[in-house]
């Protein structure tokens, strides 16, 4: 970590945020009947997994399907990069036709990933409704008219800054930092 890095969520706040988001979902979805959770690959899926675990912790009787969605083939910047983008795995072992979908990503910034995600999701059926949950919402820099329904934390940042979400299962510690790349 460098001196210019700023911690947006420390491990304690991180945990509280996950808990709050999970309770918000319970408030709106109740028993989660006909509801599925889909995390966008790669890092949105970590959040989806964590939210799913938390929901089960709160109410072990809940039966909520969890899937991961890769958006590579649906991106609008393919052929605008030097090398082809290598895809991740999509694992959706259920049909989302007529289901209520909670789409999850770690950071919402330009909105382009979510746009691709919505497109990619439609290959698995026509959902009844889709809501978006993100851990970090970077405000003011949207390229598309896309907003999140559930937000962990709003962040004001400039374009050159980056947000990094660390997960304890892969990055040792749960935390979110804002930094300026060299």
């Amino acid at each position: 970590m460098q001196s210019s890095d700023r911690i947006i969520l420390d491990p304690k706040q991180f945990e509280l945020t996950i808990k709050r988001l999970s309770h918000q979902l319970i408030e709106n979805y109740g028993d989660f009947k006909d509801t599925v959770i889909i995390g966008l690959q790669p890092r949105g899926y970590f959040l989806a997994e964590r939210i799913h675990q938390e929901l089960m912790k709160i109410n072990a009787k809940l039966d909520i399907k969890l899937g991961s969605l890769d958006i590579t083939f649906y991106r609008d910047d393919f052929r605008r990069q030097e090398t082809p983008i290598i895809p991740n795995k999509t694992e959706i072992n259920f049909i989302i036709e007529d289901k209520k979908v909670i789409l999850i990503d770690d950071v919402l910034f330009t909105g382009r990933t979510i746009r691709s995600g919505l497109d990619a999701m439609l290959a698995f059926g026509r959902p009844k409704t889709v809501e978006l949950l993100v851990l970090i919402n970077r405000r003011y820099k949207r390229h598309l008219p896309i907003q999140a329904d559930y937000i962990g934390k709003n962040v004001h940042s400039i374009v050159s800054e980056r947000v990094k979400v660390n997960w304890k299962n892969i990055d040792k510690e749960d935390k979110v930092i804002l930094y300026t790349p060299e």
Binding site: D70, T72, F73, Y74, F78, R79, R80, Q81, E82, T83, P84, I85, I86, P87, K89, T90, I95, D119, L122, A123, F124, G125
Partner: protein, 308 residues
Amino acid sequence: MSKLSTKHLLGIKYLQKEDINLIFETADHFKQVINRPIKKVPSLRDITIANLFFENSTRTKLSFELAEKRLSADVINFASSSSSVTKGETLIDTVNNILSMKVDMVVMRHPNPGAAYFLSQHVDAKIINAGDGAHEHPTQALLDGYSMREKYKDLTGKNIIIVGDITHSRVALSNIFCLQKMGVNVKVCGPLTLIPKYINSLGVEVISNLKEALEWCDIAMMLRIQLERQDTKFFPSIREYTQQYGLNKELLDSLSKKITIMHPGPINRGVEITSDVADSNQSIILNQVENGVAIRMAVLYLLAGRVD
């Protein structure tokens, strides 16, 4: 590695082992895509692809066209029998005319070996060789290798025999290159008149007895006799060929282990392979066809390159 080392797909000879792995890994994802309720992705929506077939084809042409459409590319088709080629136009003229209609990629099958390479030197588009004479048929070899990898997961130390008309087969040559790069043992079997004189220079051994060859291998790839490329008689009769080199159920069941049967198609049932073998549960012929679409999607996706 996330990029192919070549600009075109002219033959397996020009690929590295890493390229082959990258194509296989990408094909895994496309195989998943083509098994979804909606099988189309928008990746190549700003690309136009010309399929130029100067020689007949069913499977390869349909497979490429389907792969292109599943990637949302615009497709134009061309068959030489119904074109100005019969009026005496040269290959470069034909292709340049097509390219002036703003085509980004060309998939070409041609009766002359090296036609795809020649084209890549003279026109400004990505070229994919869909078979050039008796030279190479790279996407077929890739889908064959992919189907083997799917069946066996780890192919190290596996033995593959290619049986039949090796001299006139582009599938055989591409497969030899591909399998050797994948680290698999490959040998060929067939009448000596249909085995190229310099096959040993590729490091490939010949087994002339079919039974012996089948006992050696884990996978047998049966090839068709390419009568259209044979200008002289290479063996006394089809009947005699079948007796010596045809695979039937009796022979298959007499082997000490269960081997896997492959065939690139078109099959001449009753000549190189009998129907009960081709349709048996040891055959993965139809898996090869399904994997063909995924492999071709992967190749097109990886070659599409940057918008200028």
